[in-house]
């Protein structure tokens, strides 16, 4: 048995070489799969429903993949559409696909799989104790459900259902990256340990190459091993680079949890098959006793305005530890005076990040006694509305430019602002509000498949 899985790139919209995809097509894969999302860029995509990468970049990649699928007549599976895999993300990707189909005059059976989780469904499950926290998890209750956009991360089952229904192209909501690559080999009866370890290896495309790149790989899944080969003939994987990829963005490289079980790579053996390809054997898969679907949620925190500036005089930036608390007291008094009972002190936040003085690591900074040449200042105002955030920022930026510095007599400007006005409205800001798993009655019940003929 040999099942060939083509992973064209790490994420739709990141790009890949057209020549690499051409080579992939020549190798006649049984499926082309790619993910289109991640939580890595933060909670904004799920909170807002907007994709991280541009429509043009996604359209370029999707066009080449749809044409490749057309040439091969094999399934094209794309998951976590629109970065977050929310329903809006799926519809956004469907819109792009339909536009391409029109432009290229191509036809296919399209499956859309939606992963948004309705509040009523989650509340019922919460009452029945079917939602369990992962470690660590933020506080979770009905209030969090009501104020969050929540998606479930699907396994292979909803994808398999779409293939049963005759789908040529699947545009799925939030999905386990690995499930996209695993579903076809699972249906063809390959060994699950090999399937899931191979899927884990190729889910970031050519990221596991010696020189990581936005490009593609082929996984060949055979009876007692799988083999990984970059599509670009100049690119290489080595036993070390493939083994090391199990570390990437995972908390434990040996035990990787999926909805239907745990991928176990601890006893895998990595062997070079050429100077640019590797075979892997000995991977295991432990089926779960209880099927779980990871939930991801994003919640509006408020609206932000930021102010960016710099300070060159050490006498000024070394005084900030003492001056800023006093300035904040003044801000609170002034805000109370201006907005009275419309805005209480616990509804807004004024935060100074001093770059050069521990902004990146905060209280974990180990180097606290050197004096930098200059300090970057990022002031972030968070408030319940954009209007309040902007108004507070105008006050804060004005006062911050004229702080009283001990030892200096008279008025000086204490921050160099590069922009006029110095305030920049940032719009809504979000937080991740859920780190839980759901125990559904069936792997399909949380996901909604729809089909159209394009």
């Amino acid at each position: 048995m040999e099942i060939r899985v083509l992973a064209p790139t790490g994420v739709i919209g990141a790009g890949f070489k057209a020549s690499s995809l051409k080579r992939g097509i020549d190798l006649k894969p049984h499926v082309i799969a790619c993910d289109a999302g991640s939580t890595d860029s933060g909670p904004a995509a799920l909170g807002s429903g907007k994709a991280k990468l541009s429509r043009d970049a996604c359209k370029r990649d999707l066009r080449l993949l749809l044409l490749a699928r057309q040439a091969l007549d094999v399934p094209l599976i794309i998951g976590s559409c629109g970065t977050s895999g929310s329903d809006r993300g799926v519809d956004w990707m469907v819109d792009i696909a339909l536009e391409i189909a029109d432009e290229e005059s191509i036809n296919f059976n399209l499956a859309m799989i939606y992963a948004d989780q309705p509040a009523d469904y989650l509340k019922e499950a919460f009452k029945k104790d079917k939602i369990k926290p992962l470690q660590p998890a933020p506080h979770f209750d009905e209030g969090v459900i009501d104020t969050s956009n929540i998606v479930g991360m699907m396994g292979t089952e909803p994808l398999s259902e779409a293939l049963d229904a005759g789908a040529d192209v699947i545009l799925a909501g939030r999905a386990s990256d690995s499930a996209l690559y695993a579903v076809v080999p699972e249906r063809m009866g390959a060994d699950r340990g090999l399937i899931w370890h191979a899927a884990k290896t190729i889910e970031c495309g050519a990221a596991c190459c010696v020189t990581p790149a936005a490009d593609g790989l082929m996984a060949y899944i055979r009876d007692d091993h799988f083999e990984i080969e970059p599509l670009d003939l100049e690119a290489r994987v080595t036993p070390l680079s493939v083994a090391a990829h199990t570390l990437y963005e995972n908390s434990n490289p040996f035990l990787l949890t999926e909805p239907s079980g745990v991928v176990d790579t601890e006893h895998a053996i990595y062997t070079a098959t050429s100077d640019r390809s590797v075979k892997v054997s000995g991977s295991a898969f432990h089926p779960a006793d209880i099927y779980t679907v990871k939930l991801e949620g994003s919640q509006l925190v408020g609206y932000q305005t930021v102010v960016v500036g710099g300070i060159r005089d050490p006498k000024v930036f070394m005084a900030l530890d003492k001056i800023l608390p006093l300035a904040k007291v003044y801000f609170h008094e002034r805000i109370s005076e201006l907005f009275g009972n419309k805005l209480s002190i616990d509804e807004y936040d004024i935060n100074y990040r001093l770059y050069g003085r521990g902004a990146v690591m905060g209280e974990l900074e180990i180097n606290t006694d050197t004096i930098p040449t200059e300090v970057g200042v990022l002031i972030t105002i968070t408030a319940p509305t954009q209007e309040f955030a902007t108004k507070i920022a105008k006050l804060v930026s004005h006062v911050s430019a004229h702080l009283p510095i001990p030892g200096y007599d008279g008025l000086i400007s204490t921050i160099a602002y590069p922009f006029s006005p110095p305030e920049i409205d940032r719009g809504p800001t979000y937080r991740f509000s859920v780190n839980h798993v759901m125990q559904p009655d069936t792997p399909l019940e949380m996901f909604r498949n729809k089909y159209i003929e394009v």
């Binding site: 470690q135 963005e249 434990n252 053996i269 990146v360 690591m361 180990i366 800001t429 937080r431």
Partner: protein
């Protein structure tokens, strides 16, 4: 005195999801990896101290085939929270670089 950074080809930190921070230390060669495997300069106690964590919350794994050590623990600030200054968690590894390794 040798530091961890001198023995590594790559040290990185990264999100493992929005709530967990993970660190990968990739060693330059077998000898360097064997040296830290033997002398164990990175311990849960040290990580707990550097990152203000509970030892019980820390995962510490030696990956022989990848010539790598991996450590993971809950993010000190969850990704995207108003006080989070490192959305990708990518710049949190520097305190590990200067850890001393004995011969």
């Amino acid at each position: 005195m040798t530091t961890i950074a001198q023995l590594c080809s790559l040290i990185r930190s990264k999100n493992a999801g929005p709530f967990v921070l993970t660190f990968d230390l990739m060693f330059t060669d077998q000898a360097s990896y064997d040296r830290v495997r033997r002398t164990k300069p990175i311990t849960k106690a040290l990580l707990a101290d550097l990152y203000k964590q509970q030892e019980d919350d820390i995962t510490l794994v030696y990956h022989d085939q990848a010539l790598a050590i991996k450590a993971s623990f809950p993010r000190p600030v969850f990704q995207g929270e108003p006080r989070d200054s490192d959305c990708y968690g990518g710049q949190q590894y520097v305190p590990l670089m200067s850890i001393k390794v004995s011969d």
